[in-house]
Symmetry: C2
Subunit: 566 residues, 2 copies
């Protein structure tokens, strides 16, 4: 972006085996100085489809985005659905690397097609929300084009800004966490468009691929969690996590929310049905789980989709808002502004604790998004800067963050395995990095008592290693439930990769890939100055006990550090 030029380079041999997170983390670790300012010219934004993206493999449409994070200061990968991963792969592109910054401070767009890549000045869409941007681009270009965009939050370089990806309905999917939208904003790229492409990615052994895909899809669709996700979406978890006593409520002071029924997946399903929405919906072509949904407002007009448990928890239980419509409105505003709905909503909870607005004030939350965040006022900058920034600005001590990233929807005092993930993740608190909830709560992949310390470090380690590998394939993380329980699933996935590339990988290779990724990411963080002291939960988890189990986070540092013994 500094010279407004593009170059197409062959894939270095060392990187040929990588895709998705494995590739973004490898490139960032190789090419980005870990001590650089995340919003300066020396950071790079890397966008990569997964190893299986662009193929007909079920659930293979996730796009990885990587950079040094302005929120955490660590290496970062966030991934999203939508159509971009598949189109990018079909353009023959293994990764798009955006580096430098324009000297003229103007805004630009990037267009990519099999015939090349161009950078154009952009004027019309600067300052516009994501919905308007995508709608306008559907008109400006062919409607089938893949789009990656940032909203006003990314333009303003807010640390909670996400990157949005157009989905099959022309709506949005988000690479949410870690402020990658601010990195794209710092490069002055408003959007990236991928030209439609009829070509298919080459498959080395088509018959074997087809057979493997059949077995793989069967494993996915037959798992009961997949089926639950299809009916109620991820929001099926509100009642389950509330029952477990690990639903962080009122800025992490309680483990259960009185209003949980009103914001539950079951209540949401009824509302969706009554208003002519869609309870079951895929975020990308080829998804067989369909955990997304279309949530309409009372007038039966589209309000939001990809309305996830973690966002609903954060605005609901954590902010004590019982009104699902207010939550949907805030979720839609965040999508339009281009804000991570976990980070921003946890930030709202901390702001409520500071007295900026009352707990339960869903309208107030929407007002702050419209009048402050969208306008870039001081308060808007604070909220858009994430939970840690709210804590620092208002002198709040109960700030649920690790490495400055907001802790999501599972209290680590009552569900200890996820606490190990929050503490040790190379990217700050993030449930998706090693989703212990599967085994701590859902009895997937066995059962580990959530309230006991026993077995949690090993559980989190195995899940984080597996997740890093899955995040490299372009697969949705929700294949993990079947992979943990169904013996046919993981071999079928490995068969897919082998058939795609003509390889003969084994399960060990996949595990080694996951370990390599985690160690690569950790090495970057260490060079950036992170130490084991950063692998810790905030003090209040140790000193404040969580009802109803009245438990604290009782790990010693050395116990946590043993996570890295592999």
């Amino acid at each position: 972006m500094s010279s407004l030029t593009t170059a197409i380079e062959d894939v270095p041999e060392d990187w040929a085996g990588h895709g998705g997170r494995g590739l973004t983390s490898t490139i960032v670790a190789t090419e980005v100085d870990p001590t650089c300012h995340p919003l300066g010219p020396n950071n790079k934004l890397v966008i990569a489809p997964g190893l299986l993206s662009g193929t007909p493999a079920a659930n293979s449409g996730r796009l990885s985005v990587g950079a040094k994070s302005p929120l955490t200061g660590t290496i970062k990968e966030a991934n999203a659905g939508g159509t971009a991963a598949q189109l990018l792969a079909r353009c023959g592109c293994k990764a798009l690397i955006i580096e430098g910054q324009p000297r003229d401070n103007g805004w630009y767009s990037i267009s990519l097609s099999p015939s090349g890549i161009t950078i154009e000045p952009e004027y019309a869409l600067v300052g516009k929300g994501n919905f308007t941007t995508v709608e306008s681009l559907e008109k400006r270009f062919d409607g089938k084009r893949g789009i990656i965009t940032i909203g006003p939050a990314g333009e303003m370089k807010m640390a909670a800004a996400n990157i949005s990806v157009k989905d099959p309905d022309g709506k949005l999917r988000s690479a949410g966490r870690g402020g990658l939208g601010a990195v794209m904003g710092s490069k002055k790229v408003k959007f990236i468009a991928f030209a439609p492409q009829d070509g298919k990615v080459e498959i080395s052994a088509p018959d074997a691929f087809k057979a493997a895909n059949k077995a793989f899809a069967k494993a996915l669709t037959s798992h009961p969690i997949s089926q639950g996700l299809g009916q109620y979406g991820t929001n099926v978890l509100v009642n389950i996590i509330n029952e477990s006593g690990g639903l962080p409520t009122k800025n992490f002071t309680l483990g259960q929310f009185e209003g949980h029924e009103k914001i539950s997946g079951e209540a949401m399903y009824d509302i969706i049905q009554a208003r002519g929405g869609k309870p079951k919906h895929g975020c990308h072509p080829g998804c067989v789980i369909q955990c997304s949904q279309i949530y309409n407002d009372a007038d039966k007009h589209y309000k939001t989709s990809g309305f996830e448990y973690e966002s609903i928890w954060a605005m609901g239980a954590d902010c004590c808002v019982e009104d699902l419509d207010a939550i949907a409105e805030a979720d839609s505003l965040m999508d339009d502004l281009g804000l991570d709905s976990i980070e921003t909503s946890v930030a709202m909870g901390v702001a409520m604790e500071a007295g900026v607005l009352q707990f339960g004030d869903g309208e107030g939350m929407c007002r702050i998004l419209r009048d402050d965040v969208a306008q870039g006022t001081g308060l808007g900058r604070i909220i858009g800067g994430g939970a840690g920034l709210v804590g620092k600005s208002f002198g709040v001590t109960r700030v649920p963050v690790v490495k400055n990233q907001a802790i999501p929807a599972y209290d680590p005092r009552a569900i200890k395995g996820i606490g190990i993930t929050y503490a040790t993740s190379t990217m700050g608190a993030d449930h998706t990095m090693g989703y212990s909830i599967a085994t701590n709560i859902l009895n997937v992949g066995g059962s580990v008592d959530p309230l006991s310390k026993e077995g949690q470090v090993e559980l989190s380690r195995n899940l984080q290693i597996a997740t890093a590998a899955i995040d490299s394939t372009g697969m949705c993380l929700f294949i993990a439930f079947a992979a943990l329980d169904d013996e046919a699933c993981l071999p079928a996935l490995i068969d897919l990769i082998n058939a795609r590339f003509g390889l003969s990988l084994t399960g060990d290779d996949v595990v080694n890939l996951g370990k390599y990724i985690l160690k690569t990411e950790k090495a970057f963080n260490e060079k950036a100055g992170f130490t084991r002291e950063d692998d810790r939960l905030p003090e209040f988890f140790h000193t404040e006990s969580l009802p109803p189990h009245n438990v604290v986070w009782d790990y010693q540092g050395e116990e946590i550090d043993s996570f890295w013994d592999f």
Copy 2:
């Protein structure tokens, strides 16, 4: 404060030889968990007079305040003049330790006298500025009482909040840096009062003390820098540092300020004289240098005192404001709000870079202080949170901080010795920790070329060791000029300590004390998670060259780390 109780404890034997910074850092390192939240109940605020405070020794009236800093996360000591150190010492108090937090969230005051110590609820002065607070307390109590107070910034727990100490005129002196006012605010202590005390501190060898004090005062008063400070105050430096090309201008983009003459010490002297102010004035009884002054407004009414070079630089050159009256107004507002005028003004410079206000807009600066910081608006919280918080909130990459503390008035690219001090200081960027300017620019203690890397690490090391020791005596740091140049000065200071306590310390003992303090502080920081990667200047100093010398900060990490080889 948790139980609203007080206790008077004997001084542990290990601590008997400590005072000032040596004592606050020892107590904080011993009693405070380095990983605690700085604004939570587990931090402690420690207030200690120096070893010689309360005696008739010249310039011995500095008060040390220590805690874990909410700005930097490191251990912190800040010291101030005023009358409190002397009165506290004459109360027989070696250190006041404030711990815990009230459970009722109410505000309190602490009163200390030789007959005991009490905690009282405080209502009337909550929300009031420092000037009103001190004036009200002069009426409420005997006018001779020593007062330590926080302003609204400290009450709001802003990370740039300072702690103010009443001076002999009933005005304010500040323990400025590191947000210690927020720690006092988090303890809900609005002010601390020391009852007047006729008693004197015991002196073991009065005649030897008297003789040593005479020699010591003579060394101080005969040094040319002391004399310059007496005439023009510290602001004598504007023209000198501008001439050197190391006067950071326009948020650290230039090394010289076109308007330097208008804000110089010489211009200030003329204004003070014309308006019936005082160019020469002491911040505490017994000062023989008298670098303070009384600056009146155009109507010849008191506006500010202790109007220091670093504050004038920050509001002047760094924010491009050429109007000394606007700077004095902002300085007075910051004193009243209880804000570190270095941190807050550098924050203004970063905010100017972000476009919040224009460079040069002194009126705008005052307006933000009145309408935003005083009211606790979002923008006010951001500015009051310091330069680092402004950078994070607005996505600015040119943010002059080390360990999140604003870099003061000397550009490290053009004056490299001070850069080593900024990088390695145990407390974030702070010129007073090892004032290399003495030898780099003023030719005190020899001469080391400011533009060359040669000898800077050793210079900073020697100065930081000496400073840590001086900060323990209760002496003003400005004794250092005489100590570096006049062979009689340091022996006289050691004689003073020996005569006070009946000891036979040598110069080596003083050096060892300084080393012990630095290592104690560093050990605290390491336990808090700081590493050598934190001993670095921001990226832009490496990549942006500073006119007029067109120099960058060109140190490798290992060169900086060799500072700690002692």
